[in-house]
């Protein structure tokens, strides 16, 4: 009941004008918030095999499926098999999958590098699982939940974000997925089209960034 204003003050022209300005500003803010078309600089992160990995290591890649995920989040855990399937299919088409863990390792014991290695082994990850313990890459993408999926694409020798959001629209029941957002985005980009649904909401566990 804080914003009585919204309900009862519409007779006041002055306040209405202020409101319109606020709404316009708000919508600008939303547009600015969109990450689609943002370029991503290359990064080098330690993979679970102990070696560092960078985008430039994939000379032939047309794009990447980048998944911010983690060890402890129950909703992220639901997608393990689907990540293997996505990597199997799209790596062969020049769009490999990279999983990145940007969780705060000081706060979460489960997010240690050793536990990432254990999880990748026990769940038979067929894709790299990168340790972003300084949270630099997660911040650059703006990843806010695990899992948060991106599809990045090479344009003019730069990597730009073409999709951001959920992997698909049903976490616990893969057979009931009606919109496989990431796969659709990759298909469209491979077909030379722009992504029709470029942004969705990533849901799961929030990634908190250290200040």
């Amino acid at each position: 009941m804080k914003k009585w204003l919204l309900r009862y003050a519409f007779h006041s022209v002055a306040i209405l004008i202020v409101l319109i300005i606020l709404i316009v500003l708000q919508s600008f803010r939303y547009e600015n918030k969109s990450v689609i078309g943002t370029t991503i600089s290359d990064f080098s992160l330690r993979n679970i095999d102990g070696k560092n990995l960078a985008l430039k290591d994939y000379a032939d890649a047309k794009g990447f499926i980048v998944i911010f995920t983690c060890n402890h989040c129950p909703f992220a855990k639901l997608y393990t098999k689907r990540l293997n399937e996505l990597n199997t299919k799209y790596k062969a088409l020049g769009v490999p999958l990279l999983a990145i863990n940007s969780m705060d390792t000081l706060v979460y014991e489960d997010e240690s590098y050793e536990k990432m290695q254990q999880r990748a082994k026990s769940q038979k990850f067929n894709f790299p699982y990168l340790y972003d313990n300084m949270q630099i890459v997660g911040k650059e993408f703006g990843a806010d939940h695990t899992p948060h999926a991106y599809v990045i694409w090479k344009k003019n020798k730069q990597w730009t974000i073409e999709y951001s959001g959920a992997i698909d629209d049903n976490g616990a029941e893969p057979t009931k997925v009606t919109n496989a957002f990431v796969a659709n985005a990759a298909d469209e980009l491979l077909g030379g089209k722009t992504v029709s649904m470029a942004e969705t909401k990533s849901i799961g566990c929030a990634i908190f960034y250290r200040k």
């Binding site: 804080k2 914003k3 204003l5 309900r7 909703f75 000081l106 616990a172 849901i203």
Partner: protein, 567 residues
């Protein structure tokens, strides 16, 4: 003939109503009893709607966790493990206990930490609850489903012929509603009201109840909405208990308003209903005056909702055969409470609702022109004082005033006499707009000049907005132990340790106010308020490594840190 008409009516209803109402079986929370309770808070998800799951959180994987059964007189030990992705607190709503065990905004449990409060249950038999109380996060964490019932039993209540077979004729009902976005995620920002009921976390809930007197323990666990509760045939029912215990005698009503945080225990007679017949428990929220929480016009936006200003179902009841030993009457008397009166009070306080007025969007609701500040104590209460608090709301909207530590007696309302439905022990009172209410309470047993108790509006969005104040209860410790102790020294042994770690004080009169065990990187693993140290601290669950033990001395509140190694 009657059956024929019924058949015809149902046929018409079925054919006319293409989307015939379907119901889901009411979730009855699991139970925990004994004196040690392990509550593991985790993030999880639930299938509330068609399509994607909704991210939720709760104790033991459930949106709305287990019901804890306490016996009055027992000392209960809680092991609260925060397995969530975020910090939290767990408040034992309605319980009389030391402030440091209370789980208010000061007892923050970081992720991965175990908090171990304990206290002697002195509350009367009644229905209480536990829920998160982290400042500015309460609405989000409540929305996700963290919380559960506490049912206290005592000898007085047990001696009465009341229904008490949990889940059969004694049903806990947690009322709340939720709003979903288009990905089925809960909405918890800029939203005061949900659009869809979740009774015990069940959408469109139904329950089978036996043909006899049934007890419903109803809790309003909403963000802001109040419920004007009644049955679909307007039958009379009996209020037997308020927030903090049984009434002296049952009160017969056809409606009862329940504001956020309030509980009411009712008896309803299903003995005259036919087996197979149905009945609805409903919210008669249509036509409430503006200022009733959930009476605002509009179906969307921050204060609109699909459930605003309409009557809607809370629970669909199917009447089944009676149990073997049914309760068939309402006891004429219940408890033998002696309540405080205004004349008992030696201290008078006033608290006035301020802020939140039209044209002041930057000034949310508060008390006495201020908002919650972590380090500001608004009131200091002397231990064992009986106080009279008058809460005044000359403001634009209703509120639900809640105070920690005590159960109070409402002694007067500006609107006239106190309702018979709220004549018992209370810890929340509904404060309609342009009214005031006065209660009397005794602040006994626990004094602590450091850790405060809260008083606040229980609307989660108001509380998060700072409509909360703090008080400490002080005194009662003067005497022989006030001698200043020069050395606050202690040692840990054995060190390295394996199973248990013991603390040896250089001064045997020294006591621990708080012990916190952290890793060398600063991650808290244990929070132990006023730990009982005779048997040592159980460290068997820690992984091997170096840890810091911070001990705060009871008398001086000086904190000293010692290192130990877990093998």
């Amino acid at each position: 003939m009657k059956k024929l008409i019924l058949l015809a009516v149902s046929a018409v209803v079925l054919t006319c109503n293409l989307s015939a109402q379907t119901y889901n079986t009411l979730w009855i929370p699991d139970t925990m009893s004994g004196t040690t309770f392990n509550l593991n808070l985790v993030d999880t998800f639930a299938q509330f709607r068609t399509g994607n799951q909704t991210i939720t959180a709760g104790v033991d994987n459930k949106f709305w966790g287990p019901t804890l059964f306490f016996n009055k007189g027992d000392t209960v030990h809680m092991n609260v493990h925060n397995g969530l992705n975020d910090s939290t607190t767990v408040h034992w709503h309605g319980m009389h206990l030391p402030a440091v065990m209370d789980g208010g905004p000061h007892q923050v449990i970081p992720p991965g930490t175990t908090w171990q409060p304990y206290w002697k249950v002195t509350n009367n038999a009644a229905t209480y609850w536990y829920h998160p109380h982290l400042h500015e996060m309460t609405q989000e964490q409540l929305t996700k489903g963290i919380g559960g019932f506490i049912i206290v039993n005592d000898d007085e209540e047990s001696a009465l012929a009341l229904p008490r077979t949990y889940g059969v004729d004694d049903i806990p009902l947690m009322l709340t509603s939720r709003r979903y976005d288009n990905s089925n995620a809960f909405v918890f920002t800029n939203t005061a009201y949900g659009d869809y009921m979740l009774t015990n976390g069940t959408p469109d809930a139904e329950v089978d109840l036996p043909k006899q007197y049934v007890r419903l323990r109803i809790l309003n666990a909403e963000m802001e909405r109040a419920y004007n509760i009644g049955f679909s045939d307007n039958r009379t029912f009996y209020i037997i208990g308020n927030d903090g215990g049984l009434l002296n005698a049952p009160v017969s009503v056809t409606r009862v308003i329940l504001a956020v945080g309030e509980r009411v225990e009712i008896l309803v007679n299903l003995g005259n209903d036919n087996i197979g017949s149905t009945l609805d428990l409903k919210a008669y929220n249509n036509g409430q005056a503006f200022g009733f929480p959930g009476g605002e016009p509009g179906t969307s936006g921050e204060f609109g909702s699909l459930l605003n200003n309409i009557d809607f179902n809370l629970l669909h009841i199917n009447v089944i055969a009676a149990t073997n030993s049914p309760v068939i009457a309402v006891p004429s008397t219940l408890a033998n409470n002696t309540y405080w009166t205004a004349n008992n009070a030696t201290v008078n306080r006033t608290v006035t609702v301020t802020g939140g007025n039209p044209g002041q969007p930057q000034n949310p609701f508060g008390f006495d022109n201020s908002h919650f500040e972590f380090n500001t104590i608004n009131h200091t209460v002397n231990l064992n004082d009986i106080e009279k608090w008058t809460i005044t709301n000359s403001n634009v909207f209703g509120h639900a005033f809640h105070i920690h530590d005590v159960q109070f007696k409402i002694v007067s309302r500006s609107t006239g006499s106190v309702g018979t439905h709220e004549s018992g022990w209370k810890d929340v009172l509904y404060l309609p707009k342009n009214t005031s209410a006065t209660f009397v309470a005794k602040f006994e047993d626990y004094s602590d000049s450091v850790h405060p108790f809260m008083y606040h509006c229980h609307f989660a969005n108001h509380e998060d907005g700072g409509m909360m104040g703090q008080f400490v209860v002080t005194g009662g410790t003067t005497g022989v132990n006030e001698v200043d102790i020069a050395s606050k020294d202690f040692t840990l042994y054995p060190n390295p340790a394996n199973d248990r770690l013991y603390i040896s004080f250089s001064d045997p009169s020294m006591q621990a106010y708080y012990v916190r065990i952290t890793t060398v990187t600063g991650r808290t693993v244990y929070m132990l308020p006023r730990p009982q140290l005779q048997g040592g601290i159980d460290i068997s669950n820690l992984t091997a490594g170096v840890y810091m033990l911070q001990l705060t001395d009871e008398k001086t509140k000086i904190t000293t840190t010692r290192k130990f190694v877990k093998e």
